[in-house]
C-alpha cells in the first residue's frame, strides 16, 4: 500500500518539495521470520513522524536498516530525494541520520565528551577534538536546552541523562534526521516531558524526527504524521491531526480480535499467597521493590500492571526463588525463606509455586535442549522422572512430553526437536504446558504472550483462566494493559517499586490505570470503585522541573 503523507505542520522550516526520507519497498527477514515486508514511507523535512506498533511489529528493525545497522534484503532509501545506499552506520551518519537506540550505545566508563567525539574526532590527537566538542556542547546546550556535564562518566549518569548524551552525539555529527527508538520506555514522566520539549525545539530548528513508540499518547501529543506497523507490514500512514487514538489502536492490532476472554465470575477461596513488606535491593544497590504488600486467593487472577522496569520483574523473581528479598512471604500460610544463597527454584516448586518466567528464551527454556528435556526443566529432580536412584527415565519423560505437546497443540509435535527450532508461540506453549500441568497452587506468569502469535495467545489465555477456575491462584505480570484487564479479577498497579493502587478489575478503566502506571493519582483513579490508592501516588501530575 502506498503511504500518502503530505507535509505536516511546518512551523518554521521552509516547505520543501522533496521528503527528507523516503523508503521504498524495504524487506528484511531474520531466518524464517519476516520482520519487514515491502515497507514504503515518506517523511517531510521539519516534521515529527511517528511509527507506532506493538512489540515485535518490526519498527526497530526498519529503523536499524535506515541506520545501516542491518542490511535490507530488498528496497531503496532516498535521502532528500537522492537515492542513498546505507551499508553501514558511517554511511548513515554521512547522510545526516542520527539514531538514539532503545539500548544506548555508550561506553560506560568513558566521559560524556569522549563518548560524543568517538568516531567523529577531528584528527589523530584527542585534545583538539575534546576542546572543540566542549565548545560545541555548550552551544548545543544553549540552543536546545540539553544540559549535561561534559566531564561526567557515563555510568554515573541516570538514564535520562544518558539519553541526552545519545541525542547530543547525533547533533554533534550534524544530524538532520533524528531517529528515536522507544525513547520514553526508560524515562520517568517528567523526563519524558523534557524530552518532548527538546524534540519540539529540534523540529522548530528544521530537524526531521522519527519517533518509534508503542504509546498512543506520545503519538497524539507530538507527531505531525504517523505510520502504523503491524506484523512487519506498514498498515497506514496518516496525519496525526486527522486521526484519533481509537482509530490508531485499531490499525495497530488489526481486526477487533481483541482479547475478549470468556470467563465466569471468580470464586475466590482461601489466601494462597500473602506478601508483607517485601523489599528487594539489586546488585547495584538500587532498591527495586519498596515495602510491597499483596495477597492472592485461590481461584482468582491478580494482575500486576505497570510500565516495564518498575519492579514487576523483581517481584516475580523473588517469588520464583531467583533472587533474594527482605520481608515476609507466606505460601499457604507457611513462611518462605527469602534470604537465598543461590536460586531456590526447586524449593518454590516444592511449595506448589509454578513459574512462567518473563523471558522464556533466557530463563524458561534451555534453547539447546530438546523439547522433552525442557518439558521437565526445573522438575527434573522429581521422583516420577527417575528410573532408579541414579538414572533419569529419559524414555518415560519423552513419552510424557509427547503427550503434553499433543494436548497443548505444540507444533511441530516432535519432542526430539531442539527448543530453539520452535516458533515463539510454540516455545511458550512448552513452558506453559510444563508449569500448568503440574497443577501448582500458585502460578506466577510473566509476559505470557510477548512475541506470541494471535492463535497461541488465545490458547494460553484460556489455560490461565482454566487454572483459575480449577481453584488455583494466579499472579500475572504483563506490560500489555489489555491483557491485564481481560484476564485479571483484581489488579494492582506498580510504579517505581511500589504499589500505586489496587482494586477489582471490573471497576478499573484504562485512563485511571494509565495514571497510576505513571505514578499519578487524580480524578480518573478516584472514579474506580473499590480501589485503594496509595499515598505515594501524587494527587495530580507530578511537579515539573526545568
Amino acid at each position: 500500500m502506498e503511504g500518502q503523507t503530505e507535509t505536516g505542520r511546518q512551523a518554521t522550516a521552509a516547505p520543501s518539495p522533496e521528503p527528507a526520507i523516503e523508503l521504498r519497498g524495504i524487506s528484511k527477514a531474520f531466518g524464517p521470520v519476516q520482520a519487514n515486508k515491502n515497507i514504503s514511507i515518506r517523511v517531510m523535512p521539519g516534521t515529527i513522524h511517528g511509527i507506532i506498533g506493538e512489540n515485535g511489529a518490526g519498527k526497530s528493525t526498519l529503523m536499524s536498516i535506515l541506520y545501516g545497522f542491518y542490511k535490507a534484503d530488498a528496497g531503496e532509501i532516498f535521502i532528500s530525494g537522492r537515492k542513498t545506499e546505507i551499508p553501514d552506520s558511517l554511511a548513515a551518519i554521512r547522510a545526516g541520520i542520527g539514531m538514539v537506540f532503545q539500548h544506548f550505545k555508550l561506553v560506560q566508563n568513558f566521559t560524556v565528551l569522549e563518548n560524543i567525539i568517538l568516531g567523529a574526532e577531528d584528527g589523530a590527537l584527542l585534545k583538539p577534538s575534546i576542546s572543540k566538542a566542549r565548545k560545541e556542547l555548550r552551544a548545543l546546550a544553549n540552543e536546545y536546552g540539553l544540559n549535561v556535564d561534559p566531564d561526567a562518566v557515563v555510568e554515573e549518569l541516570g538514564v535520562g541523562m544518558q539519553q541526552r548524551v545519545e541525542i547530543l552525539k547525533a547533533l554533534y555529527r550534524q544530524a538532520q534526521i533524528l531517529i528515536l527508538d522507544e525513547p520514553t520506555g526508560v524515562l520517568t514522566p517528567a523526563e519524558a516531558d523534557q524530552l518532548f520539549r527538546i524534540l519540539d525545539r529540534l523540529r522548530a530548528e528544521g530537524k526531521t524526527i522519527i519517533l518509534i513508540t508503542h504509546k498512543l499518547r506520545e503519538i497524539m501529543e507530538i507527531t505531525d504524521t504517523v505510520s502504523v506497523m503491524r506484523r512487519g507490514e506498514m498498515t497506514a500512514t496518516v496525519k496525526t491531526a486527522e486521526t484519533d487514538p481509537e482509530h490508531l489502536a485499531e490499525l495497530m492490532v488489526g481486526r477487533k480480535v481483541l482479547l475478549q476472554v470468556e470467563k465466569a465470575p471468580a470464586r475466590p477461596g482461601a489466601q494462597v499467597l500473602e506478601i508483607e513488606g517485601l523489599s528487594v535491593t539489586d546488585d547495584e544497590g538500587v532498591e527495586r521493590l519498596k515495602d510491597i504488600s499483596l495477597s492472592v486467593r485461590a481461584g482468582e487472577v491478580l494482575g500486576i500492571a505497570g510500565v516495564a522496569g518498575n519492579g514487576q520483574s523483581e517481584l516475580l523473581e523473588v517469588l520464583g526463588g531467583m533472587r533474594a528479598g527482605r520481608g515476609k512471604v507466606r505460601m499457604n500460610g507457611q513462611e518462605i525463606d527469602l534470604a537465598i544463597k543461590y536460586s531456590d527454584g526447586k524449593g518454590r516448586r516444592a511449595r506448589g509455586i509454578g513459574h512462567v518466567p518473563e523471558d522464556r528464551q533466557r530463563e524458561g527454556l534451555i534453547m539447546d535442549f530438546t523439547a522433552w528435556e525442557n518439558m521437565v526443566f526445573g522438575y527434573h529432580d522429581d521422583a516420577e522422572y527417575q528410573s532408579n536412584r541414579f538414572l533419569m527415565d529419559n524414555a518415560g519423560i519423552a513419552r510424557i512430553a509427547q503427550d503434553k505437546m499433543d494436548r497443548f497443540d505444540v507444533r511441530p509435535p516432535n519432542p526430539r526437536l531442539l527448543a530453539k527450532n520452535f516458533s515463539g508461540g510454540n516455545q511458550q506453549k512448552i513452558v506453559v504446558a510444563r508449569e500448568i500441568e503440574r497443577g501448582p497452587d500458585l502460578l506466577l506468569v510473566g509476559q505470557p504472550t510477548r512475541g506470541v502469535d494471535i492463535g497461541a495467545i488465545e490458547f494460553i489465555h484460556k489455560q490461565i483462566i482454566g487454572l483459575r477456575d480449577a481453584g488455583k491462584a494466579v499472579l500475572l505480570v504483563s506490560v500489555e494493559l489489555d491483557e491485564i484487564m481481560s484476564l485479571s479479577d483484581r489488579i494492582a498497579v506498580m510504579f517505581d517499586g511500589q504499589i500505586m493502587g489496587e482494586g477489582p478489575a471490573d471497576s478499573a478503566n484504562q485512563i485511571g490505570l494509565g495514571c497510576l502506571m505513571a505514578g499519578m493519582g487524580g480524578a480518573d483513579t478516584q472514579a474506580m470503585d473499590g480501589w485503594r490508592i496509595s499515598e505515594a501516588a501524587a494527587p495530580e501530575t507530578p511537579a515539573q522541573e526545568g
Binding site: 526463588g321 543461590y342 536460586s343 524449593g347 518454590r348 523471558d359 530463563e363 535442549f369
Partner: protein, 365 residues
C-alpha cells in the same frame, strides 16, 4: 527450522576439520623435504601393524581418553579447563603416595587405591580454580593455566626435597613395590607360544579408561547431575530459574574434570614408570583439549579422537626414529586440529550450513 542435520554437525564438521589439518600437515612434511605418503605408511606400520605398536598406541590413547574426558565434562558446564596438565601431575602425586605408603596385598586392590588417590588429588587441584570461578568470578582459564605452573613447582619441590630417595640424583620417587605393578597387555594377552605387545607400556588401566567413558556418558546424558551440568552450561540464567546452583555445578563439574585428569596418572605412573617422575604427563593434559574438541565432548567421540591421537603419537615416534621428521610434527598436527575444530569451527561450519540450506531449498522446490 534446523540449519543442518545433527549428524552433519557431529560427524562431518570434525571430519572436514581433520582433513584440513591432515592436508596442511602433509604440506609441512613436503616442505621439510619428506614424502607425506611414505611418512604416513611409516606411521601406520609403526603404530598399527604390530602388536607392540598397538601397545604403545593404546597406552597413549589411555592418557588422552582421561584428559579428553576431563576437558569434555568441564566443557559441558561451559568451563574451559586448561588445567588438565597440572591436575594430572597432582594425580601422579596421589597415585605415588597411595602406592608407596600403603602396603597393598595385590595389584587389583592397589589399582583401586591408586585410582582413588589420583582422582582425589586431581580433583583437589581443580577445586581452588573452580571455587574462585564460582564464588569470585575469577576466569577459570587463567587460573587453571596458573595452577599448571604452580603444580610443576609443587611437584618439583616435593620430588627434589621430600620424596627423592637418599643418594639418588633423579628428581623422582623410589620404585613402587612389586605388588602395585599393574599387568601389562603383554602379561594379559600373551600365550605360551606367542608373545604379544612385547615391551609395550599399555596396561590394564586402558580398561579403566573405557569404564570412564561409559561413566561419563551415563553421567552427562542419563543422570540428574548431568542434566544440570548441561543446563547450566547452556544457560546460566535458565539454571537460576530452574533452581540449579551455579556454584554447586561449577565446583562439581570441575571436581569430576580434575578427578578424570588425575586418573591419567594411574596409567603413566603406576602402569608404566612404576615411580613418579617430574614430567610424567608429557603434555597429555593439553592434548585433551584437542581430543575433546574433535570428539565433540561426547565420550564416544573422545574415545575415537584419543585413538587417533594415540596413533599419531606412536606413529610420530616411529617417524622420528626412521626419518628426519622430529616428534614435534605431532604437536603441529595437534595445533591444527585444535585450530580447525575449535577456533575456526565457523569457517568449516558456515559453508556447510549454506550447502545444506541450498540442498533443502532444492528439495522443497
Amino acid at each position: 527450522m534446523e540449519k543442518m542435520p545433527g549428524w552433519a554437525d557431529a560427524v562431518l564438521v570434525p571430519l572436514i576439520s581433520l582433513l584440513l589439518a591432515a592436508i596442511l600437515s602433509a604440506g609441512v612434511i613436503l616442505a621439510i623435504g619428506e614424502n607425506p605418503v611414505t611418512a604416513f605408511k611409516l606411521m601406520v606400520d609403526g603404530a598399527l601393524m604390530r602388536s607392540a605398536g598397538w601397545g604403545y598406541t593404546l597406552y597413549y590413547t589411555t592418557n588422552f581418553i582421561f584428559t579428553g574426558l576431563a576437558v569434555a565434562v568441564a566443557f559441558h558446564a561451559r568451563l574451559f579447563n586448561i588445567g588438565g596438565e597440572g591436575q594430572a601431575m597432582l594425580g601422579g602425586l596421589g597415585v605415588a603416595l597411595a602406592c608407596l605408603y600403603i602396603p597393598w596385598p595385590h595389584w587389583s586392590l592397589a589399582l583401586i587405591g591408586a585410582s582413588l588417590g589420583g582422582a582425589v588429588f586431581g580433583a583437589l587441584w581443580a577445586l581452588v580454580p573452580a571455587w574462585l570461578q564460582a564464588k569470585r568470578g575469577s576466569h577459570i582459564v587463567i587460573t587453571t593455566i596458573m595452577f599448571n605452573y604452580i603444580a610443576y613447582s609443587v611437584l618439583g619441590y616435593l620430588l627434589v626435597n621430600v620424596l627423592r630417595p637418599v643418594g639418588s640424583m633423579d628428581p623422582a620417587t623410589p620404585k613402587f613395590p612389586e605388588t602395585t605393578h599393574l599387568p601389562s597387555f603383554r602379561d594379559m594377552f600373551s600365550t605360551a607360544d606367542t608373545i604379544l605387545f612385547r615391551g609395550a607400556p599399555a596396561n590394564v588401566s586402558f580398561f579403566l579408561a573405557l569404564i570412564a567413558c561409559v561413566f561419563v556418558w551415563l553421567l552427562i546424558w542419563r543422570t540428574r547431575l548431568g542434566y544440570e551440568i548441561r543446563a547450566f552450561g547452556h544457560s546460566e540464567t535458565g539454571a537460576n530459574y530452574a533452581g540449579i546452583s551455579g556454584v554447586k555445578i561449577t565446583v562439581i563439574a570441575m571436581l569430576i574434570s580434575g578427578a578424570l585428569a588425575g586418573l591419567m596418572a594411574v596409567n603413566t605412573t603406576q602402569g608404566e614408570a612404576e615411580r613418579l617422575i617430574l614430567n610424567s604427563t608429557e603434555g597429555a593434559g593439553f592434548i585433551g583439549i584437542a581430543v575433546a574438541l574433535m570428539g565433540r565432548n561426547h565420550p564416544l567421540g573422545v574415545f575415537i579422537a584419543a585413538l587417533l591421537f594415540g596413533f599419531l603419537y606412536q606413529g610420530g615416534a616411529e617417524l622420528a626414529l626412521w626419518t628426519t621428521i622430529p616428534r614435534e610434527l605431532i604437536v603441529v598436527i595437534q595445533a591444527l586440529v585444535i585450530l580447525f575444530t575449535g577456533a575456526l569451527d565457523n569457517m568449516v561450519r558456515m559453508p556447510l550450513e549454506k550447502l545444506f540450506l541450498a540442498l533443502r531449498r532444492k528439495e522443497a522446490s
